[in-house]
Symmetry: C2
Subunit: 350 residues, 2 copies
């Protein structure tokens, strides 16, 4: 900790003996002032405690360097790892990453969007809630600054919005193919009123099953919890539902392909509680469970979860690259849509 407490650049300028604008230029690019001046400032800064005001530095500036990130839910490790990847890559590009969680609530999502607009953020990277998102707020945002959807999309595709996500058709195909090849045909387990991914994956599942000449079977309950937060508690939802089914002896010898890993974790837990035989050897009867997403803790489940892993780093990198392109570029290019392949992760559960 240094000695003198300096609060404004004005104070600093008299303390060091250069004009305030010169300091301003130095902070934005030390090479934009004469080397002797830069050295003088550098030495002066070592004697004092000075931190430029965040708001003032961003008030009258063409680019704030802020990238706002909005995710639906913090306690889903998929989003946590996605966010970490975005933060790390964004940091490398000298962006200031600010994050808001919508807590599964569309009103909070809309508020977060407005907050980033009000900050003149360079761009917004958002994993939208989906069905329930406030489309008007997102449209307003897209009309004012670059918006990149990541991982999930809105039902009605917005113009002027870029998209980075996983190729659900590819990912579902490889997991369906694997499951069909190694045992009974999978039943697709989903949740209603989610985002674009759940719909896309279900459609891809149905299509691929028909391609195999098999009858698609979708397990989905229309009844949803009332509260937003519970609506996104996949694992507990799946556990409760399957616990009931298993008690009645249903689905105990089937292969369940879950729309995401958290659902699969809930299913797994229900299955182990009911002492069901998981991933039976050839010929024997038992249940198999597969997920989708590549949840960070899937390796630590017992049995470890067979899934298709999304490439979080690729998604994050692509999103930041799109932001850079929009910020640098003329901004008149068409909205881009970038899909990444997922990789099959065969473990113990299927």
């Amino acid at each position: 900790m240094k000695r003198v407490r300096i609060n404004t650049m004005e104070e600093l300028s008299v303390a060091i003996g250069v004009s305030r604008p010169t300091l301003s230029r130095y902070f934005n690019d030390p090479k934009s002032v004469r080397p002797s001046t830069a050295e003088k400032i550098r030495l002066g800064l070592q004697q004092v405690d000075y931190i430029p005001n965040f708001f003032a530095t961003r008030m009258n500036r063409e680019s704030t360097g802020i990238v706002g990130v909005i995710i639906p839910y913090l306690h889903d490790l998929f989003f946590a790892s996605l966010l970490e990847a975005i933060e790390k890559i964004g940091l490398q590009h000298d962006f200031t990453i600010l994050t808001q969680s919508s807590h599964g609530d569309p009103r909070l999502e809309a508020r977060a969007v407005e907050r980033f607009i009000s900050m003149n953020a360079d761009a917004i990277v958002i994993s939208p809630l989906g069905m329930d998102s406030d489309v008007a707020a997102l449209e307003l945002a897209a009309s004012k600054l670059p918006v990149v959807f990541i991982d999930s999309n809105l039902p009605e595709h917005l113009p002027n919005v870029d998209f980075v996500g996983t190729d659900n058709r590819q990912s579902i195909n490889i997991i369906v193919d694997y499951l069909c090849r190694t045992g009974t045909a999978p039943i697709f387990f989903s949740m209603p009123r989610l985002n674009s991914n759940s719909q896309e994956r279900e459609a891809a599942y149905v299509e691929r099953m028909q391609w195999h000449g098999l009858e698609p079977q979708v397990l989905i309950h229309e009844k949803l919890p009332e509260r937003w937060s519970e609506r996104w508690s996949f694992e507990s939802y799946a556990y409760q539902l399957m616990d009931e089914y298993f008690s009645r002896g249903r689905y105990t010898q089937d292969t369940l392909l879950c729309v995401n890993d958290l659902l699969a974790i809930g299913v797994l837990r229900a299955a182990t509680r009911h002492h069901l035989i998981i991933k039976p050897s050839a010929g024997a009867a038992g249940i198999r469970v597969a997920g989708h997403g590549g949840y960070p803790l899937s390796d630590y489940m017992t049995p470890s979860l067979t899934t298709v892993a999304q490439d979080v780093n690729a998604l994050a990198g692509a999103a930041i690259n799109m932001v850079i392109e929009r910020v640098r570029g003329a901004g008149s290019s068409l909205p881009s849509r970038q899909l990444f392949e997922a990789s099959l992760k065969i473990q113990e559960s299927a």
Copy 2:
């Protein structure tokens, strides 16, 4: 979405027909203008798209309403749930919660602290990295605004910093007592160079074991991963270490009390991979595993994890209350230190 695009309050004032300062007062408190004027403004706002500039509104204001939250690590669900609790409670008190993750890196932590100083945040709520934290940066922060440590503390207690945490002595006592009562005495499994909690818990463990007249036994490896991010990957660290031990037949019939739940999850996974008998019935030989923290997914492990659950909501609520007190109050009161009890959560693993 509305019609007219309005960018500044100035534009809005001519559009509605009241002066700009009147609008400013209306936004800060609609009741501070005449009802007829308020109604006029309200109607006018429905015709336009206007979002006040975030920076400008916080520039020349006594209180910014911003509470900065800094957590070490996003992909630890304990911190994720802590953060969610803080955000929700903070929101109820009309604070603007901004979050930064230090990604386990003390330089990023220091940068986050400086960022919130530069924003004139009303307060900082931080779960410090601990040993590796930049003390100077935190001291500087504490000299400028209220700082509340949550969950973990620094080795050297800073003056002027409030603390909200779990009563480690109480939590360790109840889990040690339970384990001693129901089977072999626990071995304490920890990681070196963590935060204050690991030291406190170890000390509490040693003390309680001696109180029971038992020999304390601590399992700890001094070798740590080089990279910050890996240093905080508890589950993989624990898995690798215990996998090796189990291969050599060590600890396969002991009771392991882990300093946190993620370590326990790693241990559990190693144990199930080695087909060890977990939580043996009375008399039989086998391993028991207990954690500490109340990790959200501990119910979904197989076997489900026996642990002591920290009260995340209580911690978050107390932290926000301290912030409110510091902001409202004269601010001259002594630093407070508030500890919460944890509750024993007996499940399948011990």
